[in-house]
Amino acid sequence: MAQTKEPERYEGVERRLQVVGVCLFALFGLLCFQLWQLQVVQRNRFEEESRENSQGLTRLKSSRGVIHGRGGVVLADNRASTEVAFVPGECPKARIPEVCARLQELIGIKADALMAKVESVAKAPYTQLTVKTDVSKSEHITIEEHAFELPGVVAVSSPQRRYLFGQTGGQILGYLSEINPEELQDWQGYYMMDLVGRSGVERVYEQPLHGQDGYAMVTKYASGAAQLRTDRRGVPFVATRDSLGHSLQEEGGRREPVAGNPLYLTLDIGLQAKCEQLLAGERGAIVVLEAETGGVLALASAPGYDPNVFVNRGRSESRSELTTSEKMRNRAIQEIYPPGSVFKIAMAVAGLEEGFINENTRYFCGGTFTLPAGGRSFKCHSKWGHGSTGVIEALAYSCDVFFYNNGVKLDIDRISKWSHLMGMGDKTGIDLPSETPGIVPSREWKAKHFEGKPEWERRWYTGETVSVSIGQGGLSTTPLQNAVLMACIVNGGYRVRPYLNAEADPERSERLFSEKTCKIVTEGLRMCVAKTEGNPQGTGRQAHIEGMTVIGKTGTAQVVGNKFQDKYKSEEDIPYEMRDHAWFVAGVLDREPKIAMCILVEHGLHGGSTACPMAKEVIEYFYANDPKRQEQPAATPAAVAKAETP
């Protein structure tokens, strides 16, 4: 065997190994230094982070505040909606198909679909799979009865909004829908998928109605979601396993949810139902106000919708169809119409207050009115004229010529001023969303409206003043504004702010006009309705109620000019969209509470024949059934349903 020489050994190896040793020491020293930094110097910060990591809040949803109507009637509350859920992880694997099949037999779900769902959460077997939402009581009981055959099947209940009167008052109450990203950003205490008010008082009073969510503090894993269940009384608790099967425990610090504040409305649901019943089949609106305060007793708009449609997330087709339909529009506050002769009330007040007319002023009505300068003539609605007419007769018989004269004297800017004072052309301030201000024309308005057009188009003409004097010619108001106008007369000259929240303080303006003016106008309006011995009778006679002082003013607002209507022989031949709007505003003076109301029937032809009888029924119903005056129990959904079916 060849002897190979051991190679020369490097002399400095000892030194170099020492260097390696020192390096090793230095590196491990660095580790210790960093450990010290993290564990001792920055300890508090990391402890905080660790705590934040390890404890999660599971939200316990609050239930929405209950909405009451006049007399404490519950209009919207929350019922327990039961959802049947299946937790695959709590069921032995082999039995899952059997359980699915059994569920199909018992509550009629599709076993295949459920099996597919089970497959899809194979990685998170403790996810609560929704089997059926909002099951009926009998189905719920069936599930509980067969509990031993259905391992892993649980019933979870949650509060769900219920509008007890269905479509009645639906537009006022509004509906709920999922919160949108902007709201989520701006509002405190809201989370994804929360339901928030979308219209009506649900929207205006969203914050007080919403309540305060509670929470349960549970262990929080890096992944996996805590599952919320409820016991038999609907009290929520966190399931012992999260979706991935980690075992959880509540770590104390639970805060119970606080339900939303109840909301009390001035709305008389019985009256509302009556109004909606009267409007059935028509397009229109009925507004009934407490004249002294402005409390809204009824605010019906037809056609309407049932907000319960929006409660279930499931039926989305009918929902999307509804959201784009005209049923969503509240005609009482969102649509504008020329007020027609109803505006003569404001004209009379303006004329009397500005001193252009008094109780003795008389104009001759021969059926037409000719402008002094231009020679253009305007017709009165009575072909043969009313003869010599004072302000009281003019209001009672709705003489146009009297108000043409009055209007020309007043001039448009004074008319505009008084209209605004009495609540037209501005939002009334009712606590409902999306109110329309309407239009009261004036010189300024016209110049602004036709900005950029030639001067002759922007100028105001006296002829236009004549049209405005009888509530036509660009004048556009909402039915609610007309009700406020009527309330002004009924309460003796105060403009009220209509409101729905009974706990709000009523607001009213300074007295707008003198008692004398009020007396004169009231007399005119009383004559309009009253059955007088002599001929002719007032235009609103069909609203007359024996033994009650009802005042009122009819209105017939033209949608198109006379020449279009004159083509047709009789009123029935006029196409629907060309027919006049029928108005009637009314007030009751000698009952408590005094009410002021406005009825509008779109294309209803005549205020006197279409709207007046409705007013009579509304007034009679209200004083016979006012829930605040009566000892009898308040309206119930069943009773209202009965009243609605003829």
Binding site: P7, Y10, E47
Partner: protein, 417 residues
Amino acid sequence: MALTTTSFDVHDTTLRAFNIRNLKRIDWLMPILVLCLAAIGWATLYSASNTSNPLFFKRQILFFCAGLFVALIIICVDYRLFVSLAPLMYAVVVLMLVGVLFAGEERKGSERWLNLGLFSVQPSEFSKLALIYMLAWYLGGLGNRIRKLHWFLLTFVIAGIPMVLILKQPNLGTALTLAPVVVIMLFAAGCRVWHMAALLIAAISIVPFVWFEMKGFEPSPPEYVAANYYGKLKIRDALREQHEANRKPYDLHWHQKMRIYGYLHPESDKKESGWQTYQSMIAVGSGGLSGKGFLNSTQTRLKYLPEYHTDFIFSLLAEERGFIGAAMVIALFTAFLLRGLSFALDCPDMTGTLLAVGVVTILGFHVFINMGITVGLLPVTGIPLPFLSYGGSFYSTTMVCVGILMNIPMRRKMFVY
């Protein structure tokens, strides 16, 4: 080292591979340290597996027993036998590394395993030991000739072949662990300092390259931050595909850039690349001075820490045992490594010295890198912690290393015969 070397034939050792008398010279401090570390490892793993799978703990004990068996064999057989077989081992490992590139199966993204029918092996794990043996054989045989540049450079050719093959897998972590082994073994073997300095400067010059590569790398554009979970996944996928499509051969891969990015911005994007580092820092930091107590960790129990059985087990230990426990483990490792280094110092045989230095380096490097990652000093790369991390292959590698180390002082008296 005043020992006079008698003539010694490396190839002669085959006859005296096993000598029962050598066992009398066994070093007793080393096994005690090993047992201490192993016991701490079991306790930590018990805690880790307590909330996940108790099998981890039981298996780890089995791995230790298997490793102990292998270590005992290594202790009994003269290390020079293995050193003489180094070229063969090296060749086999290189062949396996080539094979794994073509027929390997991927596990956990980047590690490649070779299926040998009965069992799967991870050739990159073997390459660590094979390279140490190979370098010990090469440098030990070379002696002072290492001061010549070409011999010096040849070392890098030897080390470079497996490293490039491992990088190809791609397994950056393992390839990186081989680098310090080469450097330290060369240094101990007595290479010229300026050779080494030039090399290190060349290595440091990679930094501007990396900086250049990372310039303009932005995995979290505004639309990404604004997107929801699934949107995020989509945007990241699109960005990655775009990056990989435009990548030139010398460019870094997307996932490598992501790791560097995560290291540079550990808190900027807590849920993403820096997530692991940051969660590990929370775990370590929240442990405080004395820790949360045995089985009381929250960061790991609630699965905020990924891989807490393996790469992040030190975070668990630091969380439950606090600074005191963690520093104690560091002290134990330091003692263990320094003891190994002292064997190298005392060994009269250059091959043995180099072998010991290589083994100490690779274990020390694992310990430092792993702990450095868990305390947020270094970017995340999958490197296990000896004795503590769960895993059969690496545990046996570790025990083989222990066997090699203990074998070295046992032989030293041989020369005085």
